[in-house]
Symmetry: C2
Subunit: 194 residues, 2 copies
């Protein structure tokens, strides 16, 4: 990949003993959406990212928009903990079908990978509706969720939120639509900024 | 003091916004003794020390034995968070009366400062008893506590613990005796390794 050095530690190097010190992010950012479906998830993310930062002492760190909530949680962590690290945001890379690339796609069969593109399609449709002027967020979210369910997905959430902190949108906020759903046992997430 | 540079930030520099990300130390170290009397105290200590470490990026940090529990909490934090900082331990500095030096002593009148030395005297007596072979920790702690109460102190705790993690002592453990008590509204702490 044109990379000079990769630090890819084994689990035992990062957790030589049970992790007892934990970095707790605030509930308003961390207990919603992904954190509601996976309690404690962002405490684990913050703690291990903090450890990696200490081990590597980087000048900059790249996080992708595909894990949109993680990006926001880490951005606030850097600021709140006075970490002198520049956060670089990377756009989501997609297949020609629109499917966001992810190591998890490897668990999908060809037929499932084809169906997986529906997640992006449904979010894209929601974006178009918002751009056309709709502001009935609840109904829009339900329509998107129902469209996935009709295709056999088990939907965790489809949510239209404001970009800055994923709170419920107020007039004038810049928006993002986020979705998480399971297809044949694989849990996929995606999002689109509006 | 022969120091070249001092970083002594104002509160607004360290907390420009409410602190929402917090470093939680484990209950076994942080919810006993000082943490039992002052709930959440070591979460605040760990969080602000972590921020200062990020701001300063020190090669080494000096912590005094007077705040013995804090020293243990910070030592484990360094290890568990993979912070590349050498911890240097400083012995407690004492007045000729045995009183551990502390900025808090400034709140005491001359008469109170004289009485304050009792805390060290009582701990010194407990050390002597342990060295003489006593292992009835509960009774020893109660005697020390009663001696302070008889002098008008309000005792938070006198505790004989093992040095490594402040757990209840087992045979062969290296010990430390710790005390915290209030004298005329000033809360003083001290400890002696055995």
């Amino acid at each position: 990949m044109g990379c000079d050095v990769a630090f890819a530690p084994q689990e035992e190097e990062i957790y030589p003993e049970p992790q007892e010190y934990k970095l707790h992010p605030p509930a308003r950012l961390a207990d919603i959406l992904e954190g509601q479906v996976r309690p404690g998830f962002f405490t684990g993310v913050c703690t291990v990212v903090l450890k990696l930062f200490h081990a590597v002492q980087p000048d900059a760190a790249v996080f992708g928009k595909k894990d949109y909530q993680q990006l926001l949680v880490i951005r606030s962590m850097l600021r709140q903990l006075m970490l002198p690290i520049k956060l670089i945001t990377a756009e989501t890379v997609r297949a020609s079908t629109g499917l966001a690339l992810s190591s998890r796609n490897g668990y999908l069969t060809d037929a499932q990978r084809s169906e997986a593109a529906q997640l992006n399609s449904v979010l894209t449709k929601a974006v178009a509706e918002v751009k056309a002027g709709r502001t009935d967020w609840d109904k829009l979210e339900r329509e998107a969720s129902d469209a996935l369910s009709a295709h056999g997905w088990l939907v965790d959430y489809v949510a239209i939120r404001r970009q800055s902190d994923l709170a419920l949108p107020l007039t004038g906020d810049r928006l993002v639509v986020l979705g998480a759903a399971r297809l044949a046992g694989s849990r996929l997430i995606d999002n689109l900024e509006i």
